[in-house]
């Protein structure tokens, strides 16, 4: 046996199913069993999987005594290797099962045995030890290669595949945005992220979704050219900053600006951009579709060396998928029929919900306050005010995007009106500031105003 510890990946030719592997197990009463298995499947650097098709002795043995030993031959040299295993668990659904099952089905269908050869589970084993069996062949070992196999999909590639698959399933823009940020966290480890979209006049970006911050910052704005995000928007190129000088951090810059601006109004009518106080690395990537900037995806980390070229590349690919999906789902001219209603969102539990909410509209800057606190302004402010007044005056609760588009008072541009984005923004701000009054999606292009409290409306000039 050679001294150097072998890595499972070095046995890649043995995982191709070219030569069956010998698998020995042992029952609890000590009776050994050995059988050929057509293929040992590589799962990751410490796990393999073996297909379970029939209720055989191997299947029973490893559930009594999880230890096993597989002997595999390298098809290039017929050199043998042993891997010592411990049975861990069985999977009867999920990507591993699907991949093994599909392979089995393809083989079975060739032989007209589809009903006989059916994968019951993918049995996953932990690899305890690997050894090359010296004295097996006179041939020298095959030359090691830098590239173990085209069958070992790089983890990042696999994650990108999953990301692409899942975001293309989103039917509503809000789902798309939430899913994207969750997958960035789950698949790539980007814990702190946000998506900003361009406003209708192409002068500012507004935050429409964020993840990993105490305050979601939805509705906060960044000017083109301002800070990292604004710079990326202007240049339409990804930018990565590591070990950031604190004075360059966009979050602080925005807050400083707010404070320097003085006046309570200036502060209370701005929503702070989400930001880590101790951010040491940031990447911002433009969201482009057919050469047009529609927004920016930004991530940050407290680790100075968290972001390298890999992260930059991953986010650029993610952003290109995301840009196309946002563009597609923003074109919501088609309304879904009434029957296909989305489930109303459940009301966030409140210890002592207020019995009424008081909204105040400031026509000068289309700003809406709720119970004396800034809620939203500009186009979403006007939309909210329109909905609330129609609810008060006509008792309406159901609305459509189409009627909002036709409402000249709202001032939506005729093309690229960003209405769906504005509604998401409004919905999220309401969830945060007045969760007892909700805009609930009712399928594509329709929504309802739901309220658990009385609503009082007033208007003020200043």
């Amino acid at each position: 046996m050679e001294d150097r510890l072998l890595k499972l990946e070095e046995l890649w030719p043995c995982f191709q199913g070219i030569i069956p592997a010998a698998l020995s197990t042992c029952s609890q009463d000590g009776t050994p069993n050995i059988t050929f298995i057509s293929q040992v499947h590589y799962v990751d650097h410490t796990h393999v999987a073996i297909s379970h098709q029939f209720f055989n002795k191997t299947h029973r043995n490893v559930r009594e005594n999880p230890l096993a030993c597989a002997m595999m031959l390298d098809p290039r040299t017929l050199q043998a290797h042993r891997i010592y295993l411990r049975y861990q668990h069985s999977e009867s659904s999920g990507p591993l099962f699907d991949s093994m099952s599909l392979q089995l089905q393809a083989i079975a269908s060739h032989a007209g045995m589809t009903d006989v050869f059916r994968l019951r589970s993918a049995d996953v084993y932990e690899v305890l030890r690997i050894e090359r069996v010296d004295g097996f062949t006179r041939l020298p070992p095959a030359m090691p290669t830098d590239r173990p196999s085209r069958l070992f999909v790089d983890q990042d590639l696999e994650s990108l595949r999953l990301f692409s698959e899942r975001i293309h399933r989103a039917e509503l823009l809000e789902d798309l945005l939430e899913t994207t940020l969750r997958l960035l966290d789950d698949l790539f480890g980007f814990r702190h992220s946000m998506i900003l979209l361009m406003d209708e006049r192409n002068t500012k970006l507004f935050t429409i979704a964020s993840r990993g911050y105490p305050e979601n910052g939805v509705g906060s704005e960044v000017g083109i050219g301002e800070g990292l995000i604004g710079t990326v928007a202007r240049a339409r190129r990804a930018l990565q900053l590591s070990a950031i000088d604190h004075s360059l951090r966009y979050a602080r810059a925005v807050r400083d600006r707010m404070e320097a601006g003085g006046g309570a109004d200036a502060v209370c009518r701005e929503i702070p951009l989400p930001g880590l106080p101790s951010a040491a690395g940031q990447i911002a990537v433009p969201l482009l579709t057919r050469g047009r900037l529609i927004g920016v995806l930004a991530v940050e980390s407290a680790e100075p060396l968290a972001f390298m070229a890999r992260e930059d590349t991953l986010l650029t690919i993610v952003a290109s998928h995301l840009g196309g999906c946002i563009e597609q789902l923003s074109r919501d001219t088609e309304e879904s029929p009434q029957g296909a209603l989305a489930k109303p969102q459940s009301l966030r539990a409140l210890a002592a919900p207020p019995r009424s909410r008081s909204f105040c509209f400031f026509p000068q800057d289309d700003c809406v306050f709720v119970d004396g606190e800034y809620l939203i302004r500009n186009v979403p402010g006007r939309i909210l005010w329109r909905l609330l007044t129609q609810h008060r005056d006509e008792g309406r609760t159901e609305f459509s995007n189409r009627e909002l588009r036709m409402d000249s008072w709202l001032g939506l541009p005729e093309i690229k009106d960003n209405l769906e984005c504005r509604l998401i923004l409004l919905r999220k701000r309401m969830e945060q500031k007045c969760p007892d009054i909700r805009l609930v999606p009712r399928g594509r292009g329709r929504f309802a105003l739901e309220t658990d409290v009385a609503i009082a409306l007033s208007e003020r000039d200043t």
């Binding site: 042992c26 069993n33 059988t35 230890l67 030993c69 002997m71 042993r82 097996f136 041939l139």
Partner: protein, 151 residues
């Protein structure tokens, strides 16, 4: 007693793999360089090289329990023998001939399924130990729903 169909199978160039286990119930796998059925058909002799089967031989000396699976590569017809160690001895002239005959048949089988002959010829099959095994059970092991049934 080894039934006739299994006896016939074992006269061909079958792939022979051997399973044992140690006192902690950790299984061990190795390859045997041939199998020969004993006169009364209630025992077999398998040929192991110490270099690749050290742990197997240790296990056999310790508890004597063994499983031997024999599969014909060209059609996957297979059986499994369960047994108990009788003796471990250096391979004699007759054993060497039996192993050599088996090897020739086995290489023919492998070449028939596309394995280059020079790879098979490079296996180190000697010096071998002859391991005599009393066969206690015989099982079908041809892949499919009937696999595992006692013969």
């Amino acid at each position: 007693m080894i039934p006739q169909p299994v006896f016939d199978l074992l006269q061909t160039g079958v792939s022979v793999i051997v399973g044992t286990r140690d006192s902690t119930l950790m299984p061990e796998s190795t390859r045997a360089w041939g199998i020969h059925v004993g006169k009364n058909r209630d025992s077999v002799t398998i040929f192991l090289t110490e270099a690749i089967s050290r742990k197997t031989i240790e296990n056999l000396k310790e508890n004597g329990l063994v499983a031997i699976s024999c599969t014909r590569p060209t059609d996957h017809v297979a059986c499994q023998l369960k047994g108990r160690l009788q003796t471990i001895r250096p391979a004699g002239q007759r054993d060497r001939k039996n192993s050599s005959d088996w090897h020739r048949e086995f290489v023919e089988e492998l070449v028939a399924i596309g394995v280059p002959a020079d790879l098979c010829e490079a296996w180190i099959t000697a010096p071998a130990l002859a391991i005599d095994i009393d066969v206690t059970d015989v099982f079908h092991q041809t892949p499919g729903p009937g696999a595992g049934e006692k013969v």
